[in-house]
């Protein structure tokens, strides 16, 4: 299982739909300061279920929607995660060689979630990834400037990572 691509529309500094292809091996994201690299990681953590504005580097969730100056009015932010599911990992979706997870957020505060175009709840997406030990705070996702966090947190908090692994 791996991320085939990510589609972002209206989320942070991405007003126009972009399609971001990833390799099953190692993909490096490069570019000037402030160009939008960490925003891509925010998009991935958001679709995995991140709910904390602080951890998404915004004051309120409505700041996730593109706020720059363009003609077009942007009403919602949407991120799609397209996952390669061949060979299958989830029993429930064993007939789908590709799984599309979608999260949308409107200016009025409402959110929508989809798995393969079917509406679902945030919990459904979170449970899906929990099976694999993946969540927005898992040890395998390290945000900018946070690399030493594992050493600086309390022993009890550190143990949670070991439990994720077990």
């Amino acid at each position: 299982m791996f991320i085939k691509r990510l589609e972002i529309y209206g989320f942070k500094s991405f007003p126009y739909k972009v399609n971001i292809p990833f390799s099953p091996g190692i993909t490096a994201i490069v570019g000037p300061n402030g160009s939008g690299k960490s925003n891509i990681l925010d998009a991935i953590r958001w679709i995995l279920g991140e709910q904390s504005p602080k951890r998404l580097r915004v004051k309120e969730l409505s700041d996730l929607i593109f706020a720059g100056n363009i003609q077009k009015k942007i009403d919602f932010a949407e991120v799609k995660l397209i996952i390669n599911h061949d060979p299958p990992v989830w029993e429930k979706f064993k007939d789908f060689p590709e799984i599309i997870i979608t999260r949308r957020f409107y200016r009025n505060g409402e959110g929508e979630f989809f798995i393969n175009q079917k509406p679902c709840r945030l919990k459904d997406i979170q449970f899906l990834f929990l099976d694999l030990g993946v969540n927005p705070q898992s040890y395998g996702i390290i945000e900018q400037g946070e690399v030493s966090k594992f050493l600086e947190i309390s022993p009890k908090e550190r143990k949670i990572f070991l439990e994720d692994l077990a």
Binding site: T27, A28, V30, L41, G68, I70, K149, F161
Partner: protein, 164 residues
């Protein structure tokens, strides 16, 4: 469950024993539980680096702290490969030698886990499978393009040595 935690800890430490000395020659690292009962215990890290007397983790330098975390991360992934691993400028404090060692360690886990890494470091860029460029040619608007290594070299003077 108790047995599971103890078993996993043992496996991680076996891997850590192998990985840590590739970064800190002659060094040793071990994760230990702070209490006999794994369900209530915390997790501590004991490190030995030859010639250094590390009484607590705060004595480590900025780069050494990042390297310890990288060694633990790789050991975790060798015990249980998660589907993906996403790292945002974890190499920012590394010197040249250690950034080359870092990308070598990533190669160890890439067979079973997808790796996405955000970096400004040319030593890392030249060893990955795909390079994705992000730009803001239009002010405030992010766009994505895939780049080839030789194109990157043309644009940046310090990438001159990327050509293998």
């Amino acid at each position: 469950s108790k047995e599971k935690i103890l078993d996993t800890l043992e496996k991680v430490n076996t891997k850590l024993k192998e990985i840590f000395p590739t970064i800190f020659p002659g060094g040793e690292a071990k994760l230990i539980l702070t209490d006999n009962n794994p369900l209530v215990a915390g997790l501590d890290l004991n490190i030995k680096i030859p010639g250094k007397n590390i009484r607590h983790l705060n004595m480590l330098s900025g780069g050494e702290k990042a390297l310890c975390v990288i060694a633990i991360l790789i050991s975790f992934y060798l015990v249980k490969p998660g589907p993906f691993c996403i790292l945002d400028e974890v190499d920012a404090s590394l010197d040249e030698k250690n950034s080359i060692q870092f990308i070598k360690l990533l190669q160890l886990i890439k067979k079973n886990s997808q790796i996405i890494i955000i970096t400004h470091n040319p030593n890392i860029m030249k060893e990955v499978d795909t390079l994705l460029g992000v730009t803001m040619e239009e002010k405030g608007i992010s766009k994505i393009f895939t780049i080839k290594l030789d194109q990157l070299v043309k644009e940046h003077q310090s990438y001159q040595n990327l050509i293998k």
